[in-house]
């Protein structure tokens, strides 16, 4: 029983991380209509920036995370300007390939600069707390709490500020957004900035538990693809739901089915879902 | 009877685009479907060409039940169609468009292609021959080697009709063939449609240009809000109160 609860909490932790990355991906999909392959790699870079801020400059964990978020927001904007904006009117296959190119580029630069070693963000909250007979490290609680806070903040930003609602407006109707005077270029940059910041935050939060390494982006991006296909591409509630479903399934699957094949589980779920419902579980139709 | 629909219905989300439409098309006639924008005309076409699956009701073609069969089966059974937005293979030439249009009548497969068998050569020849024949029929022989992007709007409309004809249909569905072309071109088009009918193909068209419809059609069906509100000869339709109301909005004569 304790093991089960432990795994549920682990599932939540995993789901929280997935969720922060998936939300950004789904926001970008909404306005660009292209799954951004390089999104996981922004997560990776966020992890590295946090790591170096702490280890090289001795900056506080939270401040490092904040700096990483800002750096990544800028990187996200650059990515939009250099890769996605020029490709806006290209066929979708070409956009996809450009995104793959961006992904290869970022990962390769990370390898050249930082090598392929695994690094770990120094853990400062590694005390163990007991809640209802379950042993938890503080960092896990911080991950879950941090993710929830960011999700709420994102929700408030999108639903209750005019600037935030321009992102949704553009996703729902690009022409309509232009017609009310919204500068779609600025919204696109804003969206990339927000999405990259979320990815960076995910890496800063998870860094002390999971490790930081150049190919960490490649694995998470595929998991997150699975999530947004499950949740419906472009859907925000779908991304949240999908993240926790996947986090939970992986955590429980690793314990009760096979830890060796735990990474296969996510992809197997996707194949299964799409075999039964070719347009995804919560598809809004189209695309 | 060539085509028959019984209580044909289509919903999109909560919207009923087509509501229990019963309709019949006789062999050899020219039938027109008219109605205000958004009345369900294109939806009707999309259902009887198998482009969308219907939600309920039945479609039978030459006595065969077609309900629920995939799109390509409709074409193979002899229903050809054009689209409102002229739909062509934009990165090929006029001739190549028509050659691929004949594909469903050919039999060659992968092995024929690899070994360039007699059948492959025969099919290739037959496709070219058929394409040439249609080019002649629609009067586009001169531009046959032009990429589709280079021909005029009116030629593109003809080619779209040709593309439907090359599949050797028994019933040809034309979705607003005269949209976006001028007066002179419209009368050429009318001639072409009559020529098609004389060659033994039944024609069913959606059209907004009333004059053209009244001259061309033997029979007219009027749709409004997805329901059939009238059916009859052009003369009958012209006098029908419900039709006038649907078009003019209550006031009968301005």
């Amino acid at each position: 029983m304790d093991l089960l609860i432990q795994q549920v909490v682990n599932g939540f932790t995993l789901g929280s991380i997935y969720c922060l990355v998936a939300l950004g991906l789904t926001l970008i999909y909404g306005i660009m209509e292209v799954p951004n392959f390089a999104h996981g790699h922004l997560y990776m870079v966020g992890g590295y920036v946090t790591f170096f801020m702490m280890t090289l400059y001795g900056i506080n964990y939270w401040v490092s995370g904040l700096i990483a978020g800002i750096v990544l927001a800028v990187l996200g904007i650059l990515l939009e300007r250099i890769v996605f904006n020029p490709m806006r009117n290209s066929p979708s296959t070409n956009k996809f390939i450009a995104a793959v190119g961006a992904m290869m580029f970022i990962e390769a630069v990370a390898r050249v600069l930082w090598g392929s070693d695994f690094r770990s963000i120094p853990a400062i909250y590694d005390n163990v707390v007991m809640i209802g007979g379950v042993r938890l490290t503080e960092q896990r609680l911080i991950i879950i709490a941090g993710a929830v806070i960011l999700m709420v903040a994102l929700y408030l930003f999108l639903k209750h500020t005019l600037i935030g609602s321009t992102i949704e407006a553009m996703a729902q109707n690009r022409d309509g957004a232009s017609l009310v005077g919204i500068d779609v270029n600025r919204v696109a940059m804003l969206t990339f900035a927000v999405a990259s910041l979320l990815a960076s935050a995910a890496a800063s939060l998870s860094g002390p538990i999971f490790l930081v390494y150049p190919s960490m982006g490649a694995l998470i991006i595929m998991k997150v693809f699975v999530i947004i296909v499950i949740g419906g591409m472009g859907s925000i509630p779908g991304a949240v739901l999908g993240s926790f479903i996947l986090g939970m399934t992986e955590s429980l699957g690793a314990t009760y089915i096979s830890s060796n094949y735990k990474d296969v589980i996510a992809f197997a779920i996707l194949v299964l879902i799409l075999s039964i419902k070719p347009s995804g579980l919560f598809a809004k139709g189209g695309h | 009877m060539l085509l028959k629909t019984e209580a044909l219905t289509k919903n999109f989300g909560g919207l009923t685009a087509l509501n229990k439409v019963n309709f019949e098309i006789e062999e050899g006639e020219i039938v027109a479907i008219i109605g205000p924008n958004g009345a369900g005309k294109s939806t009707f076409f999309n259902l009887i060409s198998g482009f969308y699956p219907s939600c309920s009701g039945r479609i039978s073609f030459m006595g065969k039940d077609m309900t629920g069969t995939p799109t390509h089966e409709f074409a193979c059974s002899g229903i050809g169609r054009t689209f409102q937005t002229t739909n062509l293979f934009t990165d090929s030439t006029v001739l190549d468009n028509l050659i691929i249009g004949y594909r469903s009548k050919t039999k060659m497969g992968m092995l024929d292609a690899i070994f360039n068998t007699k059948r492959a050569r025969r099919d290739e020849g037959a496709s070219r021959e058929k394409a040439g024949e249609i080019l002649e029929f629609i009067g586009l022989t001169e531009v046959k080697n032009q990429p589709v992007g280079n021909i005029s709007q009116e030629a593109a409309k003809r080619l779209a009709i040709g593309l439907a004809l090359v599949t050797e249909p028994r019933l040809l569905l034309l979705d607003e063939p005269a949209a976006g072309i001028n007066h002179g071109e419209t009368s050429e088009l009318v001639k072409l449609i009559e020529k098609i009918q004389h060659s033994g193909i039944t024609v069913c068209l959606i059209e907004h240009k009333m004059q053209m419809v009244m001259n061309l059609a033997h029979r007219i069906m009027v749709l409004n809000y997805g329901t059939k509100i009238a059916e009859g000869t052009p003369r009958e339709i012209n006098k029908n109160d419900r039709v006038i109301e649907a078009y003019l909005g209550g006031t009968k004569h301005a």
Binding site: V34, P35, M87, S92, N94, F96, I97, A98, V100, G101, M104, F105, E107, A108, R111, V112, A218, M222, V226, V229, M233, D263, V264, F267, A268, L270, V271, L274, S275, P278, G280, H287 | S49, H72, A75, G80, R81, N87, F89, T90, D91, S92, I99, I100, R103, S104, K105, M108, G109, M110, D112, A113, I114, N116, Q146, P147, G149, N150, L163, V166
Partner: protein
């Protein structure tokens, strides 16, 4: 008429020259290393021809290709290592097995469209990779399979030397190119292209889209499987990374550099890209940096790749020559200048 004849003649001579060069290569190659690089390039090129059929001609971005490559390699490698089958049996079995798996994959994935298709095939590629990596008892896991035997000799012909293996691979490459060019120039190939252009229109013309897609997918997988089997007997060591998506992306890069939907593209792109990086050692570290950036530049500015760019350059030159010829008699007609504009547009 004369011009066309002349064009065919020059083309014919060009083909012959390339063929002669390919035959003579082992004797003019400055060292054995180049020979190895080119042989490996040929093997990859066979797989890239498969990808070309799917991406270039059918217009579907399938990212499971490295998975199929790995499947072919491991099937053939395992059959010859564990069951002692001869290469001449394990190769066709590997090709058929890969095709069978691909058809099953196709049945599922072609029901989806657009981005879903891309992501689904990507995930299937990852599954194949992960299964190869994790199924330790069969595949040796991350340690891989060592010592796959070379092809057994046929009568007096042996495949011990690098040269003989080069010719073996060359033969398969020529076979691939021959089959591919026959297919894409036939009605079958036209069918694929029509689906790339508009699936809806193809279906309303009576084309069974699903069947055609499966056919293209199957043919592509068949050759990818052959490439995998050739790889296993040539490199003689198999690791799970040959099924990783990274290899798919490299195939994609090779294809785009050379030019998708062309017959020469896959070979040109693969030889160029793999050749340059292999021969310039200092590039190793920066290879993927350059490739990543290159991929973006290519899709943005040269979506037709090298072969496509050459073709359009040639067309432009020809046009200029024709216009110069004509300008003596009359000005270029309005229609023509329009045509030129349009081609630039597409």
């Amino acid at each position: 008429m004369d011009l066309i004849k002349k064009m065919y003649k020059t083309k014919y001579i060009a083909y012959l020259a390339v063929f002669a060069l390919a035959i003579a290569f082992p004797y003019i190659s400055p060292n054995r290393y180049y020979l190895t690089v080119v042989t490996l390039g040929f093997i990859y090129a066979i797989a890239v021809y498969g990808l070309n059929l799917i991406v270039g001609y059918l217009g579907q971005l399938s990212l499971a290709q490295a998975g199929f490559f790995g499947l072919g390699a491991y099937t053939s490698g395992l059959l010859s290592l564990k069951l002692g089958l001869s290469f001449w049996l394990s190769l066709p079995i590997a090709a058929v097995a890969t095709t069978t798996v691909a058809l099953l994959v196709g049945l599922i994935s072609f029901r989806t469209r657009g981005h879903y298709f891309v992501i689904l095939t990507l995930c299937i590629g990852v599954i194949i990779h992960l299964v190869i990596e994790k199924w330790d008892s069969l595949t040796g896991g991350v340690r891989g399979l060592i010592g796959v035997p070379i092809p057994s000799s046929i009568g007096p012909i042996e495949f011990k030397s690098l040269e003989s293996q080069y010719y073996l691979v060359l033969a398969f490459l020529i076979l691939t190119i021959f089959v591919m060019s026959r297919i894409v120039s036939s009605l079958v190939g036209r069918t694929f292209k029509s689906i790339r252009n508009s699936e809806e229109l193809a279906a309303t013309l009576g084309i069974n889209v699903m069947k055609s897609k499966l056919l293209a997918f199957g043919i592509a997988a068949f050759f990818t499987g052959i490439a995998g089997a050739l790889f296993s007997s040539y490199i003689r060591f198999l690791g799970p990374e040959i099924a990783a998506t990274h290899l798919t992306f490299e195939f994609l890069l090779f294809l785009l550099i050379g030019g998708q939907a062309t017959i020469a593209g896959p070979l040109v792109g693969t030889l160029l890209a793999s050749g340059i990086t292999e021969s310039l050692q200092f590039m190793q570290e920066y290879r993927m940096v350059v490739f990543g950036a290159l991929l973006i530049v290519i899709v943005k500015f040269f979506p037709g790749g090298l072969v496509g760019a050459t073709k359009s350059l040639k067309a432009k030159l020809e046009k200029r020559v024709n216009q110069r010829k004509k300008s003596g008699t009359n000005l270029p007609s309005k229609g023509e200048s329009h045509a030129a504009k349009n081609r630039g547009f597409n």
